[in-house]
Symmetry: C2
Subunit: 442 residues, 2 copies
């Protein structure tokens, strides 16, 4: 019997828990789901075999230690900054660890210790980071094995709403942490284009966008992610001429979001301490005084930076209406989030959709240039069994299986960029209809 | 003999130390100047009577306590976040305290404790905050005493270079912390205009400026400060229709600084890790690729948001040149600061200049509306005896004298908004040629 401890039973744990339960008999597994809310943990394992639920306050290190001690492998789906406490217990008690979060500086410091204790701390093993690494590295390593060179790599990912559930002008509903969507991009984006270092600051991030086309789905807006440069080293693309990572949104989203950025509504650094404020009054505070309607004032203010559709999208949110703001002494970003959480709520039967696309330009061994694309589209089943939960949870779950079955030879604090990880994970994901479509264009 | 301890012998301590030395015999004072650098403290008291210098690491609480114990009053000119340690010792050892910094939340918490121990902790007693409070409250209280009401209050202050030392196109040289100049305004400004709440986010702070005229000096740009709303309560102007505080710069500065903001060069939130980068390459990273000269690309990029003069100012800084950036793995803001510290250096014989102006609109007891202005212009003598050092140090020094002579009846954590403080301070400052010119306009 191999015991698996899952810490954190949030939204993204659903598919992961199902996977463990379905494979428990064959793999001789027992899963313990731990959460600060016992009810959340119990709800997630309802009707499932080989699973038990426990209440676990992550700040109670004695309880965490006891639970860790009983496990052969720990998966943490806690918020990213909480992994380090779990990791330190794993180190002390000699347990493997899997997370779906970026390797923090603190986590990176455990590398040598984990290696010496013969442990695998596999991080960045969800969707993004996670599937992006695996699917990109598969192509990068193939091209190199064939004697080719990658001269351009652009990669885009978006957590969106499926077309059949898209019933609002923004083409967006929340399938993950709303706060991260509101505050997205609030530092200068960095990338490389044709050998030149390129920066896009927040004030024009949603104006300087690209258009990406996905077969069968049409065109999407893409805005640049914060740091594309940091991928050169782990991907072994140190001399690449073009590297850019970005986030996908439905067409028109970025131009409308830019209105909110230019207004100043995404600012989370100060609090508005006015009682009984309406959204119209809030928006008006950013506009010049004047006698025109607020919609006309907003259009004048944006001038060429917004079209009528963008202004209509802003109006649709209720930002130009007399709706009372239900937040006292909050930042404009929090006030905006309160409104968006209502307007962009994934309804029970709504399906979300994950879209990922890598675009490579390659020079092959004969010196010929060609383009390779690798695209993924995954739709959710409903607002609980989301594409987001599948694509975050299943890679982590399968990686855990591969580790438990001793198929990973590398040790230390890792990300899934080696064949020994991405080959079995990507191949098993195909059975769950998570399939990258690879295409070559002369 | 009354002992005064000054903690922090930085640039702004010069005039304060001179004041204490000059008045030491008459007032029976002995001043101890403490700094982490013994040399800095010794340099400041060179040739002065009734002064001694000691080395004091503020993190060594035993030393700080011993020095505090010998004093009757402590003045802290340390960086603002360090006052709290000094204040706690003052509380324990029952010593009065004077600072020139805003009252922090931690400092405010000491109010009741200080009151109970019969102590004066007088903060915000420099230039801005300091002289702004005193000179404004003098007029506000006069108007109210005469039965009038203040319906509009705008207040501006700038630490500038004197016209006779102004030999660069920006009309600016550093007379205080350069970092604060580079990062100024990076949160949304809040004020009230004609009864309406108004916000200006950073992305257009240096575009949405006012023009202020000072007699004998001409016109200045003024950009809004972060939080003008917080002045309503201490100034007892809770129902005022217009309240705005702003920062003065020479005309044209703001339009040119906006180029740096729009480019993204004032971002301090990420590091550029490229070796041997030139300033031209850095600026080019923010611009679209293209074959035009960088100056033309920049002008195209700014379009209507910058005129030729603004672009010329940016060029004058060296930002479009092949000068190597002398900073490794630094933020763009730090790289910009390195350049500006050279270009905007106050030369030994340069004179700086402080300009402050309050503009009131008042309705008097007969219902008549009139305007009152109160303006201050102070020039420095050279790059050591600056107007900044005078206007920061002398108000603090005189407030200390008034406290030592038991003329302040209020107790607790205070700011200089009561007559018992501002009357004696403003009146003694006049002897030092720090004089507000008050004017009434029908």
């Amino acid at each position: 019997m191999r015991n698996i401890l899952l810490v954190g039973a949030g939204k993204s744990s659903v598919s992961l828990i199902n996977y463990f339960s379905e494979n428990a008999q064959a793999e001789n597994w027992q899963l313990t789901v731990a959460d600060s809310s016992l009810k959340a943990a119990q709800d997630k394992i309802k009707g499932l075999q080989f699973c038990s639920a426990i209440e676990l306050d992550i700040n109670n290190n004695d309880l965490l230690k006891a639970a860790t001690d009983k496990a052969d492998l720990v998966i943490s789906l806690l918020p990213a900054h909480m992994h380090i406490g779990v990791a330190k217990n794993c180190l002390q008690l000699k347990k493997h660890l899997v997370t779906a979060s970026y390797i923090s500086a603190e986590m990176a410091e455990l590398n040598e210790h984990a290696r010496k204790k013969n442990l695998v701390f596999m991080n960045e093993c969800g969707l993004d980071p996670g599937l992006d690494h695996m699917s990109a590295m598969k192509i990068i390593n193939q091209v190199k094995a064939d004697g080719g060179e990658i001269i351009s790599f652009k990669s885009f990912c978006g957590g969106l709403v499926a077309p059949e559930s898209n019933d609002n002008p923004w083409g967006y509903k929340f399938s993950w942490n709303p706060r991260n969507v509101i505050l997205a991009g609030q530092s200068t984006a960095q990338y490389i284009e044709d050998g030149n270092l390129k920066f896009i600051p927040y004030n024009r991030l949603f104006l300087q966008t690209e258009t990406i086309e996905i077969d069968g789905l049409g065109k999407f807006d893409a805005y640049a992610n914060r740091d594309s440069l940091s991928y050169r080293k782990p991907y072994d693309l140190e001399n690449i001429k073009t590297i850019l990572r970005g986030t996908l949104r439905n067409q028109g989203y970025c131009k409308a979001w830019n209105v909110l950025v230019k207004l100043g509504l995404t600012d989370d650094s100060y609090k508005v301490n006015i009682e009984n404020l309406t959204y119209k009054q809030l928006v008006d505070a950013y506009l010049p005084n004047g006698s025109k309607s607020i919609k006309n004032k907003l259009a004048d203010f944006m001038a060429a930076d917004a079209d009528a559709e963008a202004i209509d999208k802003v109006e649709w949110l209720g930002l130009l209406s007399d709706i009372k703001i239900n937040a006292a002494n909050a930042s404009p970003a929090q006030m905006l989030q309160n409104l968006l959480e209502e307007k962009w709520k994934l309804q029970p039967t709504d399906k979300d959709m994950i879209v990922m696309q890598h675009l490579f330009t390659v020079v092959n061994i004969s010196g010929e240039q060609k383009k390779i694309t690798s695209s993924l589209v995954v739709k959710g089943s409903d607002s609980v069994h989301t594409a987001m939960a599948k694509t975050v949870g299943l890679p982590a779950a399968i990686a855990a299986k591969v580790i438990l079955n001793n198929k990973i030879k590398t040790r230390g604090v890792l990300m899934p960029i080696e064949q020994e990880v991405y080959n079995p994970v990507l191949s098993e994901l195909e059975k769950h209809n998570i399939v990258f479509a690879e295409k070559e264009l002369g």
